[in-house]
Each structure stands twice: as C-alpha cells, then as structure tokens.
C-alpha cells in the first residue's frame, strides 16, 4: 500500500515536471516577442544574449505607428473591420439559414441542406484562383469588402445552427405561435435570444479565423491601403529594409488582441473547438 502511494507520488511529481517544462517551451515564443519588441536593433542582433533589456524601448511601439513603410494603423483598422464584419454577418446569415432548414417546413429543403453540406468538401485550394477572378470582375480587389465577403458564408456554421435549432423545444415555438408570432417573430423573439452561447462559440471562431487569415487577404490586397495586419507582418520579412525592433513590436500588437480574447472568453472558444470536431 505504502509502496504504491510513493509510486503514485513519483508519477504525480514527474507529470508536473514534464508539463512544466513543456509549458515553458510553449510560452517561449511569447517571451521572445516581448523581449525583442522592447529592444533596439543592435541589442537584438548582439551575439551576447540578454534575457531582458534593462531599459525597455517602449518607444518602439511609437515608431512602429509612425513608420510610413509599415502601414500598421491601416492593417489594424482593416483587420478589425473584417473580423467584426465576418463575425456579425456570418452569425446572422448562418442562423437565419439554419432556422429555415430546421424549423420551416418546405419541400426540397433536405436537398438544399445536403448541397450546402457538400460545399464543406471543397477545399479553398480549388476556389481561390477563380474567386480572385470573380472579385476582379466585380471590383472587389483591393477593397475591404472584397476580403471580407467570401468568409461570411460558412456552410459549417449553417450546419451547426441547423442542428442547434432542431433541438429547440417545440412547446416554446407553439406558445409563440399562439401569441400570434410568425416565422420572423419566432426567429427574432424566441430563437435568437436563446442562441447566445452557440453564437459566442462560433462567432469567436469566425473572428479568430478571419483575423488570422492569410492567403485570401494576400491575394486580394495589393494596395497597402487594403492590407490586413497579417499582410503587414508578412511584409516585414520581404521589405527592402528590415527594422527588427518594429517587426517584433508589430507582432506583439497583432497578437495581443487575440490573446486577450482567448484569456477572457476561453469557455466559449473551447465550446467552439468542440463544435469544429463535429461534436455538439
């Protein structure tokens, strides 16, 4: 008995040691961002390693926003517009469609549902070239709405909203009908107020995905006025002159909002993560 508990103790302690070591490794990149963002270029490239600058260069953040080649302000503004726009419109359109598919009796609605499901099988690899062609034709290249719109329509969200609304209690809907509510009233007064949790979960996923998206904004945004913050970051690597301190300061600025969201809304994000594996 005694031996076993010692064995267990060893197991517990070694588990903590292993996990703590891993935690340090996982946090290391964040540390590097902060360290380098607060140093001058010569301090960063020095072969003598300093773990943390004695006098942090907070000024790096100021110079970042004043650098005419960095487009940081435009990037943040565009990314925020696109991420919030995607969040709001995707939730609205998907919940509307999910509601129609789950709750409005209609012949052929199953066919539509399966067609929508079918689009899940299409990887973006096959659509990004022609979608660019489409955007170029309707004038969406180099615009914020051109980056935003394709991300608004998500078969995946529609599917999850439909599943969610299928489980909505019939009695409440019946009660609403007796009160004289039509389809719109039921959706607006009864279903939407009860969809907050799923909307938070899916909405944050949509927000994060849109903020971090890279290929599509890269294809669509040629003029710096239409760049997202991810393109601004990538450009630091390909620009003519490399300002390391600004590059890391920009990374810190680009990553910080999502870290805050993740820390404060962890519960919903985990909920969303579960959704995306197909669990409800």
């Amino acid at each position: 008995m005694r031996a076993r508990s010692t064995q267990e103790k060893i197991a517990v302690v070694s588990r903590y040691i292993v996990l703590s070591l891993l935690a340090v490794i996982f946090l290391l990149p964040f540390y590097l961002i902060v360290r380098n963002a607060l140093m001058s270029d010569s301090q960063i490239t020095s072969s003598h390693w300093v773990w943390f600058p004695v006098h942090p260069h907070w000024h790096n953040f100021v110079s970042l926003f004043h650098d005419p080649d960095a487009f940081m302000y435009e990037g943040l503004k565009n990314s925020a517009l696109i991420a919030f726009g995607t969040l709001i419109l995707q939730m609205l359109f998907s919940s509307m469609a999910g509601y129609a598919l789950a709750r409005i009796p209609m012949r052929g609605s199953n066919i539509i549902f399966f067609l929508i499901l079918g689009t899940l099988m299409i990887p973006s690899a096959v659509t990004f070239v022609p979608t660019f062609a489409l955007m170029a034709t309707i004038g969406g290249v180099n615009t914020v709405w051109g980056i935003l719109t394709p991300g608004v329509f998500s078969a995946f969200s529609i599917f999850l909203f439909r599943q969610f609304y299928l489980r909505f209690p019939d009695e409440i809907e019946e009660a609403g009908k007796l009160d004289g509510l039509g389809y719109f009233g039921i959706y607006w007064r009864l279903l939407l107020p009860n969809s907050v949790s799923i909307m938070m979960a899916l909405g944050i996923l949509a927000f994060v995905g849109s903020w971090n998206n890279f290929l599509w904004p890269l294809v669509i945004g040629q003029d710096p006025s239409a760049w997202t913050v991810q393109i601004v970051l990538s450009t630091f690597l390909t620009a003519q002159t490399v300002h390391l301190h600004e590059l890391f300061a920009a990374t810190a600025v680009a990553v910080a909002p999502l870290i805050v969201i993740f820390l404060f809304m962890q519960r919903y994000i985990m909920e969303g993560a579960k959704f995306s594996s197909g669990k409800e």
């Binding site: 990149p29 990887p123 062609a133 590059l247 594996s277």
Partner: protein
C-alpha cells in the same frame, strides 16, 4: 385532405395563403446564405473549371480553350510533381505527430489535479497566434541562422557554431522549423477537443475495468480510453489532414523571399504555394486553376484512403 365543414373555399384560401407565407419565409431566410454560397462556391468552381481548360495568360477570362493541356503540362512539370511529393511527406509527418502529441497532452492534463486550468490555457493559447506571426518569430528569432537566433544561442552554450536552420538543405533543418511551428500552433486546439471527449467517457467504464483487474495504465488506455475516443480521433485526423494538404502560410513566410529574391522556397514548396506563384506571379490563371483541381483530387484520394483505414466514424469535417 377532406373538407367537410362549411366554408371550404375560405379554408383552402387560408391554407394556400399560409403555404405561400411559409414558402416566402423559407426563401427569405435562406436567401443571404444561399446567394453567398452560390456566388463564392458555385460560381468559382464552374469558372475555375472553365479556366483550367483555357489558355489564360495575363487574363482572368476563360475562352481560349486548349483542352486538357494545362493538366498534362502540370503533370509533366517536375516542380509541380515535386510539390505534390513534398506535401505528401509533410502530411505523413505532421498528422501522426500532431495526433499523438495532442492526445498525449490531453491525457496528461486530464490527470493533473491542481493547476489543470493553467496547463490547459498555456497549451491552448498558441491557437490565438496567426501563422504569419508565428512564422516571423520562428524565422527572425527562434531559428534565425545567425548567432542571435535563440536556438543558436542555446547550442552555442555547448560550443557549437551557428546553424543556418532555414537555408541549409543537408541536413534539411528547415523541416524542423516548419514542423515545430505548425505543431505549436495547432496541438492545443486538438488537445482541447480530446479533453472534452475524455470528460464524456462514463466513469463506470473505468470502474468496471478496475474490477476486471485492468489496472495498468496501458491496458485502460488501450481497451477503454482509445475506443471511446474513436469518433473524436477520426474527425481530428481528418481536420489535420485537410489542413496539412493546404499548407501555405508558414512555407510562404518562413522560406519565402520577396520580389528581389526567391528565398529558400525552392527547398520545400507545397502545391498551394506553387499554384499561387503560377497564377499570381506568372499570371497563368488557367494553369493555376488546373493545379487547384489536381490538389483537390489528391486531398479527396487521401481522405478516402484514411476513411478506409480508420473508418469515417460519425465525423464531419470543418474548414
């Protein structure tokens, strides 16, 4: 169906009216999503297919049809075949590593008593970081080739001279850089899914197993935990596979150069990067579209093979 009461006409009218209202409501609710999906899924697929059969140099319009020449040209282009080979190798590495690592992390974190939330958060938080930002850290700080790179600093403590992690072809250190960045970014996400699934396994199963004398960790894992995680595992493998085949961001940002330098992308160029450069740098949209279809065929092939091997379960893929 039978109308026995008085005023049959009014009832029929009313029913027709309500039927019309239902139909109208249905389409009104469906319209935004449906139009959007048709415009951004349906139209591009047809447009892309027509483009792939056209000679579309410096133009986005199809019309100059050349049959399947774009496809045959691509399939005899050694660089394109090489990119397909690259992505298959990458996928074969990244999928099992991610799978095992995230499962192992979930099992470990699940067993921790105090501090569970802390560890869960720490492993999950990289999910918030974009591929572009992570690539930048990996390339300019963590695995930078000069003496000020962090890993080079560590190896210098053991008296080693700086290694050019990204530019060296043999040994192919750049794979270490590419694989670690993707693992760091995605393993926490899958860990969370596994954790959720672990919590749904009924306690009674473990108790029954203990009664049967299956006390060793391995036995419990093999006969209880893993079978219970089957559905989750299948969908994680699928998500991971599809994402890996469409890798672009970290290759572009870590190995890529710029207008005045090709960088090191020639070392490992995944198909999506190659398609991007055919379509947007070389401006051959017909061939770019054809490349998209070939890559999709490859993804479908591998999904089917994986499905045959592990079963499709009740899984559904996400984007």
């Amino acid at each position: 169906m039978s109308v026995t009461h008085q005023n049959p006409e009014t009832r029929v009218k009313e029913r027709n009216k309500s039927h019309l209202r239902t139909t109208l409501s249905f389409w009104a609710f469906m319209a935004p999503a449906l139009i959007g999906l048709i415009l951004f899924m349906g139209v591009p697929i047809i447009w892309g297919f027509l483009l792939s059969l056209s000679h579309a140099q410096n133009t986005i319009h199809f019309g100059h049809f050349i049959g399947i020449r774009n496809y045959t040209d691509l399939l005899t282009d050694p660089e394109f075949l090489n990119s397909l080979y690259t992505i298959v190798i990458f996928t074969l590495f990244i999928v099992p590593i991610t799978f095992v690592f995230s499962l192992w992390l979930a099992l470990m974190v699940n067993k921790v008593g105090r501090g569970k939330a802390f560890f869960r958060t720490v492993f999950f938080i990289p999910t918030a970081v974009s591929y572009a930002a992570a690539s930048l850290i990996w390339r300019m700080s963590l695995f930078n080739g000069t003496a000020f790179g962090f890993v080079n600093h560590l190896t210098a403590l053991f008296g080693m001279s700086p290694i050019a992690w990204i530019g060296t072809a043999s040994p192919p250190w750049y794979w270490l850089v590419l694989v670690t960045v993707r693992i760091w970014l995605q393993v926490g996400f899958y860990m969370i899914i596994f954790l959720a699934a672990l919590q749904e396994i009924p306690h009674s199963l473990y108790e029954a197993a203990a009664m049967d004398g299956a006390t060793g960790g391995w036995q419990v894992l093999r006969y209880i935990t893993l079978p219970q995680l089957r559905a989750t595992s299948v969908s994680i493998l699928l998500l991971c596979l599809i994402a890996a085949f469409q890798a672009f961001d970290e290759f572009y940002n870590i190995l890529g150069g710029s207008g005045a330098s090709s960088g090191n992308i020639g070392l490992a160029r995944p198909p999506l990067v190659y398609i991007y450069s055919i379509a947007l740098s070389s401006q051959d949209f017909g061939m770019g579209a054809a490349g998209g279809f070939i890559l999709t065929a490859l993804i479908v092939m591998f999904t089917v093979v994986q499905g045959k091997l592990f079963g499709f379960g009740e899984s559904r893929e996400g984007k």
